[in-house]
């Protein structure tokens, strides 16, 4: 039996998941669930999506073997190049799927939350392509540290609203997007950007990102003749990780989701309920959600998608964390050794690999390079000093 869960109407992955939303949103979630299942089973929809992923997003993404860094670390290191997709990250897979679905459902407008801006840019891009109105909510802190992506979204025709409530980061952007959706649910689709939120989002978003794992599985078979020993990805909400894990959960590969030390929901959190889902969540002794702190805006999230909580609870995947200092080091390491500037999010995965390589000597490690680092260059210049 597959470890990959297809949740029933209760939206559960083991004890996790569910649909904890205001009554107003329940019919919309049910409608979305039915529409997704109908579309996913429809060869025409799947054909349209495959076509657009190929012709517009540039799929399949290739594998790149890192000979230099691999030699240095004593491992065989292979990258799945989601950074080479249109808009520069894996986010486009999900967004093209959801906007195609939104059109099919007759919606005229999408709202999205964004942290680093990658999901916001992908949403704005897909909205422009599909002729949908788009509004993106982004924490005020993130608007400041990701100014380039804010401009990019506006260039694409999206409205970007800075969110000043709470910690003014990703979790507050999700709150604000949900408030918008509560008020506009009849005309608007909430284009949620990760494997989180109320059912069917965690399942649906994973299905839209499965293409990463399915491609990688076949590509590894061609390249290696077998699955890799270790599959590594960074985890904020966890969409790129679920995408690549879904191709390997039923193999012997070790699955590793790397969280930031300041947002280690699985390691330091407890089960809780926020943003429509039951999952591991960083919270205080009274159940108030704590603020995450990470150098990377995209991982600045105190929770994690429910399927990751499930995979952790059954021991199928592990969720270690790395510090900001290790991440900043790893960002430079991959840039210098391979000529690939990773997104700060993915630098978490690089950091874990670099730290743990001594215990993985001779093993083959597949890492999902889920985004490119162009958006982070200005921030890194501030951190490192321009002349370095």
């Amino acid at each position: 039996m597959s470890v990959l869960v297809t949740p029933g109407p209760d939206g559960r992955f083991g004890d996790f998941g569910g649909r904890f939303v205001p009554e107003t949103l329940v019919p919309a979630c049910q409608e979305l669930e039915a529409a997704f299942e109908d579309a996913w089973a429809d060869p025409v929809f799947r054909g349209d999506l495959d076509h657009i992923l190929r012709e517009y997003a540039g799929r399949p993404s290739m594998l790149t073997e890192c000979h230099n860094l691999g030699r240095q670390l004593g491992i065989r290191l292979i990258l799945k190049r989601e950074d080479l997709n249109h808009t520069g990250s894996h986010k486009i897979n999900n967004v093209l799927g959801q906007t195609l679905l939104a059109k099919r459902m007759g919606k005229k407008r999408i709202v999205a939350e964004t942290g680093a801006g990658q999901h916001g840019v992908a949403s704005a891009t897909a909205a422009a392509l599909m002729g949908l109105e788009c509004k993106v909510y982004m924490g005020a802190v993130d608007v400041e540290r990701q100014a380039l992506n804010v401009f990019r979204m506006r260039l694409l025709g999206a409205e970007v609203e800075a969110v000043h409530s709470g910690s003014r980061t990703l979790k507050d952007a999700v709150n604000e997007a949900m408030r918008d959706w509560v008020a506009t649910v009849e005309s608007t689709h909430y284009c949620l950007g990760s494997v989180m939120g109320p059912h069917p989002y965690p399942y649906m978003v994973r299905q839209f990102h499965r293409v990463i794992g399915d491609e990688a599985f076949a590509q590894c078979n061609d390249l290696l003749g077998a699955p890799p020993g270790v599959v590594v990805a960074c985890v904020g909400g966890g969409s790129n990780a679920m995408g690549i894990f879904s191709g390997f959960v039923d193999t012997q590969a070790r699955l590793v989701g790397v969280e930031p030390a300041g947002g280690a929901a699985v390691k330091r959190g407890q089960p809780g309920v926020v943003h429509g889902m039951k999952s591991y969540l960083m919270q205080d002794e009274h159940g108030q959600v704590q603020e995450a702190h990470s150098v990377s805006a995209g991982l600045d999230y105190p929770g994690v998608g429910p399927e990751h909580s499930y995979l952790a609870s059954i021991g199928r995947a592990e969720y270690p964390n790395v510090t900001d200092d290790e991440v900043i080091e790893a960002f430079q390491l991959l840039s210098r050794t391979e000529g690939i500037i990773p997104a700060l999010e993915c630098a978490h995965a690089v950091a874990w690999i670099a730290r743990e390589a001594p215990s993985m000597q001779g093993q083959t490690v597949l890492m999902n390079l889920s985004g490119r680092g162009d958006k982070d260059v200005a921030q890194m210049m501030d951190i490192l000093g321009g002349g370095q």
């Binding site: 569910g18 205001p22 019919p27 507050d172 509560v182 008020a183 809780g272 009274h286 159940g287």
Partner: protein, 259 residues
């Protein structure tokens, strides 16, 4: 058996009146005085908000009051401790997000509420499908769980929601979050009428009921109103006297109207 909250509301309704339930953010500096002012000026029951870090159903005013309360050190425990000392003579309910309940544990939270003298709970992010375990614990402890009916609910859903409701049915006044609006949404009375058709429980309209005139308009169909942001804004800007004046004004308007 009819619960304390439902009984109190029924007394008002059976006497030909309409119910008024103000909302006060627990833990906001001076909140107890505002709560007393509500009780002294004709409230039939009071909804005490337990502030949460991520209040997705709330607009700017209640968000702000929640944030101030949290920064002042309010916790569910500290609020319930204060509630325990109140003796205002009308039923008290709490409005809290589900993680507060889940984190404490269903049975413990229900018994903590009862021990503090709270008779009802409204959990706006716990829809019918997820509510079973909490409702069972609340029923066992004698806490009435108010269910929300939303304008988006199809006809077949409403009777299932109202069947699970205790205390009253909270008929959501509009598509959107809590906050004051310049006029009552037409969906408010439309939904209240749909809900009234499928239940004998008291039906109160909340979200977007902003002043006495709108309260009277909603009560043309409904059995009463819940008033949140309009009360909390006065608590923030002017204090308990203004809260009392406002609640008293709504009370007089409801009592003076002919139905």
């Amino acid at each position: 058996m009819t619960g304390t909250l439902e009984s109190a509301l029924r007394r008002r309704i059976d006497g030909g009146g309409k119910c008024l339930v103000p909302y006060v953010t627990g833990g906001y500096p001076g909140w107890v005085d505002s709560l007393r002012a509500c009780a002294a000026n004709g409230a039939d029951a009071i909804e005490i908000g337990i502030p949460f870090s991520d209040p997705v159903m709330d607009g700017p005013v209640i968000q702000q009051s929640s944030q101030v309360a949290l920064e002042a050190g309010a916790t569910p425990v500290s609020i319930l401790q204060e509630v325990r000392t109140l003796d205002v003579g009308i039923p008290l309910a709490v409005m809290c997000y589900y993680n507060t309940v889940f984190h404490a544990g269903h049975e413990r939270f229900a018994s903590d509420l009862r021990a503090a003298g709270v008779v009802a709970a409204i959990v706006p992010d716990l829809p019918l499908e997820e509510a079973g375990d909490w409702c069972a614990a609340a029923d066992a402890a004698g806490v009435e769980t108010v269910m929300l009916a939303a304008p988006t609910a199809p006809d077949e859903r409403l009777p299932r929601v109202t069947a699970r409701a205790r205390g009253f049915v909270y008929s959501v006044g509009l598509l959107g979050v809590t906050g004051e609006r310049t006029s009552l949404s037409s969906t408010a009375t439309a939904l209240a009428a749909r809900v009234k058709k499928v239940t004998a429980m008291p039906v109160l309209v909340g979200v977007g009921v902003s002043n006495a005139e709108q309260a009277v308009e909603a009560c043309r169909v409904a059995d009463g109103v819940i008033m949140g942001a309009s009360v909390v804004r006065r608590m923030i800007e002017e204090g308990p006297d203004a809260v009392g004046d406002f609640v008293g004004g709504v009370r007089r308007a409801l009592d003076g109207a002919t139905w």
